[in-house]
Amino acid sequence: MGHLTATAAPPSPPRVTSPPRVDGELPMAGQPSVPFVEIEALRVREFIPAAKEALTALIAEQGQAKLIRPVFNWAGRNSLFPLHWGLACCAIEFAAGFGARWDAERFGVVPRSSPRQCDLMIVNGTVTWKVAHKLITLYEQMPEPKWVIAMGNCATGGGPFRTAYSVVPGVDKLVPVDVYIAGCPPRPEAMLDGILRLEQLIRERKE
């Protein structure tokens, strides 16, 4: 082992980390050597949403990929969780659709009570102006991607109550509707048919 000479290795040039520049702001002199961003990252509360955003972006990117998209499409259309709520008459037929005779669970349709876990809102009945803003809130609480089925004439266009002072003439005035089911109330078969048509729509969707 020979001893190292002082001149053998030239000193490495000091690495300069430039502070992030914000438009309209002058770079400040005498900043600490640790960049500002790293201090921010150390704060866990800020870091977790940032990491989540990056992860979501990654997943979204993956979702666009040709290989994965059909899988997600298949999964999305085969497991539609409708919101478990009942507005009016159609709610009874909605419940009958989950009964023993029709059993909507065959198609992977399981009602969930929390809007966070739903992808499908079946508006099963008359929507009044009093409940309108709650309906919109529920719709907004549902995570993307989400769909809406207007079940029955009332949800489609007000039905027999369209002239009434308290009834919204069609839920499409409030939220975007994907499938309309006619009937007053529609039979459970019609409800299942509506769900299957929605599945078809998802299958044919071009992203």
Partner: protein, 158 residues
């Protein structure tokens, strides 16, 4: 219980404030009274005549005046009775029955918001069926229903 019996029982207590008792199909009768008599009549009907159960309170808009009717039943007599009073349209108020029959509470709230009849001394007179802040009284004859298309056209012009 016949209308004549009712009149006999009520007339001494109410005097001139009792307008009259008419026969009514399927009921003991229909007691018409002036609104000043409301509380006395309710108490008499409930405690002396035994009509312990108030079934419904409703209002009718007769354009020139408004009518409020109360349907009560008695278990012992196995009879219904309808009490009704006429109120002027510009000053429609009557004493609340909810102190006598607690079940009147919601019915009176509904009548208030639908037919615009104020119930004095009601414990909790606020909107029940229509949203808070709704200014119309839908069951008045002057309140007309229209097709939603008309509504849309109007709102577009506004």
């Amino acid at each position: 219980m016949l209308p004549a019996d009712l009149e006999q029982a009520l007339a001494p207590k109410l005097g001139a404030r009792l307008v009259g008792v008419e026969p009514f199909e399927g009921m003991a009768g229909r007691v018409r009274f002036r609104r000043e008599a409301a509380l006395d009549l309710f108490r008499t009907v409930r405690e002396d005549l035994g009509f312990t159960h108030l079934s419904m309170v409703g209002g009718i808009d007769w354009v020139d005046h408004r009518e409020v009717f109360y349907v009560v039943w008695s278990d012992e007599a196995n009879q219904y009775l309808v009490l009704s009073t006429d109120l002027p349209a510009d000053d429609a108020h009557v004493e609340s029955a909810s102190g006598v029959w607690p079940s009147a509470n919601w019915h009176e709230r509904e009548t208030w918001e639908m037919v615009d009849v104020t119930f004095d001394h009601h414990p909790d007179l606020r909107h029940l069926l229509v949203p808070d802040g709704y200014v119309f009284h839908p069951l008045l004859r002057s309140f007309k229903l229209h097709e939603p298309e008309e509504l849309e056209v109007k709102s577009r012009h506004v």
